[in-house]
Symmetry: C2
């Protein structure tokens, strides 16, 4: 899609590309994490799709990817356009506060006053025009000094996502639909999720944060002063020959905490957090059930078959098959089935139990089976 | 097991080793049919186990194996003791009347008056002592000129087997438990199977036939005179240099019909068929459900895991996994599951649908996928 309007000025997009996606084992592995896979069936990886979605907003040379050292080559294969200056390599995963905080500190130093927007590398979005509109509005809001998020209008009482409650307009010029965040709430029970949906006051928390880099860093300074100091030290050394040894010394000591807890929730409690309603389809494709749903267009009667050269025979009406081994796969009389067939590991589960796949990964780790993790 | 008594005199065992076992795909293949697999978990193939079960009865040099040309090498690997004289190779499968009839014709010519007993190569029997007793009694009965079968005392209202009704003693000296067969009946419905079980008058038809070779041949002559003539022609040439071209000419023209229809049912109608009750455990392991049951010792709460070096993680309480590919297999939240993992094909079904696996084989054949059949 070509941009309908020019990229935003003073805006930088940040894509934290970390996280293996344990609930997507054995498709997602340490060496081939979720964001490198084409889970939406678009022909591109989730990372590439994310990058292409952000290009009209930020410009191709103003998107920074924060990822693990091990994924550098794969990321560069996915995004050949990426310049070295736009790649931040983690020596080890330190969660989203450190990842996004470091990007903020580097970018603020390079370009004081810049607004950054952080968007996960491994989500699926349909409705690029509405995404574009929401980000543009969030950037307008962020320029007033608040921290903005994009909340997804719920379409069902999902229990797999956190929610954001927001009832009152934030009264920001040029950001008419933006609301003040009342609170972030954790993943609800089914009954609570139904109440949230019915109330119309709740949005799904898609983990998108848009703010001035300086505002994010100030918020981190309040709740995580040591991390803030470490990030400043890293940013100061970043574009110098000192980067390597400062990273080795400072990065491993940064507290592992999600930006939701270090920044978003405290800011919401202070009334400094706003939410732009997102009217696009969004999914974090966290497990095989959500991928199955994605590929059945919401219908419950399709068996989704993914994988190149898949040879699948099935009388099963629903579920999902990833055929990544080239083998012939036959399904007989199984419903809501999930089969993930890779060259060295096979998973068989059901959409109802897809969340429990993480337990397998835990068990394999305990058993020292890093060869298949 | 060493024989407790001497082998029977004037007795020859015949093992028809044919049939692929379509309902056991992808474990059982054209190149590696059911009888070559260790489905009972004994450490030996079903064929080898059958041969060892018969050795105390017939003697190691008096067991004939009738099998396809393609399986000759595999059969000889399983039974190195087998002499060339005891191997009958089919150029193509012509069903059990031709296979057993040819063995009968060859053996009658070599040893007039011999009693033969035919026992499938791919069944599972537990309780060798009772099997031994039943065969010995059947041979005594057969020497009077009747055709004997061994009927399995049903332990449940199975619908996957044919039944034999027998109510009256055959009054044969030395064969006290032997009954006259009233009739053979086809696989029943569930309700009928329950009536059969409750009546105590029915046995499972295990396809074991014991008779003088001459009696079997005479019975065939009555119902299948052309086949009988062909078999005599084959037998006459068998131990001569003419075997090859006579086989090529005669064998492909023999009618394909099961011995049950050509001999057993007509003989029963004439009152010339008797049944010896078999008090041993028997299963034809026709599908994965029966293998699962076999390995759970009848309990419904065991997941059976078969395969060398199987690496299976499972929270599933029941079902069966064949791990033949060396891959790691994880099962999450699936019940009554059947997973058969081979290097080039994967089957996922449930014990309740195990019978339908044959449909997959039919579909693959239609699709020309002989590479995995």
């Amino acid at each position: 899609m070509s941009p309908t309007v020019a990229p935003l000025s003073h805006f930088y997009a940040v894509i934290p590309a970390g996280g293996i996606g344990s609930r997507l084992w054995p498709l997602s592995r340490a060496e081939a994490p979720k964001f490198l896979h084409d889970l939406a069936g678009t022909g591109s990886s989730l990372l590439r799709t994310t990058w292409e979605r952000l290009t009209p907003l930020a410009g191709a040379d103003r998107i920074m990817v924060v990822t693990g050292r091990a994924h550098r080559a794969a990321v560069e294969r996915q995004i050949p356009e990426l310049s070295d200056a736009n790649v931040v390599l983690e020596t080890e995963p330190r969660d989203s506060s450190a990842a996004i905080g470091l990007a903020a500190a580097i970018l603020e130093r390079r370009e004081p006053g810049v607004v950054i927007g952080s968007f996960a590398a491994d989500h699926v979005i349909r409705g690029a025009r509405f995404f574009d509109m929401a980000v543009r509005e969030a950037v307008v809001a962020a320029q007033t000094g608040v921290i903005a998020t994009i909340g997804i209008r719920p379409t069902e009482p999902a229990i797999g996502f956190g929610y954001i409650r927001a009832t009152a307009s934030a009264n920001i010029d040029g950001a008419a639909s933006t609301l003040t965040v009342d609170e972030f709430v954790e993943k609800p029970t089914q009954a609570t999720a139904e109440k949230y949906l019915a109330s119309g006051e709740y949005f799904w928390n898609a983990g998108m944060f848009i703010a001035k880099a300086s505002v994010l860093l100030d918020a981190l300074a309040e709740t995580q002063p040591e991390m803030h100091a470490g990030l400043q030290e890293l940013a100061e050394a970043w574009d110098t020959p000192d980067r390597g040894h400062v990273v080795d010394r400072v990065w491993p000591r940064l507290t592992k905490i999600a930006l939701d807890y270090s920044v978003a929730e405290p800011a919401a409690a202070q009334g400094r957090m706003v939410v732009v309603p997102g009217e696009f389809d969004w999914d974090d494709v966290g497990d095989f059930a959500s991928i199955a749903k994605l590929h059945s267009s919401g219908h419950k009667t399709d068996l989704a078959i993914l994988g190149e050269g898949a040879r699948v025979l099935s009388d099963s009406a629903n579920g999902i098959v990833f055929a990544d081994s080239g083998r012939t796969i036959a399904l007989v009389g199984v419903t809501d089935i999930v089969v993930v067939d890779t060259p060295d590991a096979l998973l068989v589960t059901t959409t109802a139990h897809a969340q429990r796949v993480k337990n397998v990964v835990d068990a394999l780790r305990l058993a020292g089976r890093d060869d298949v993790l």
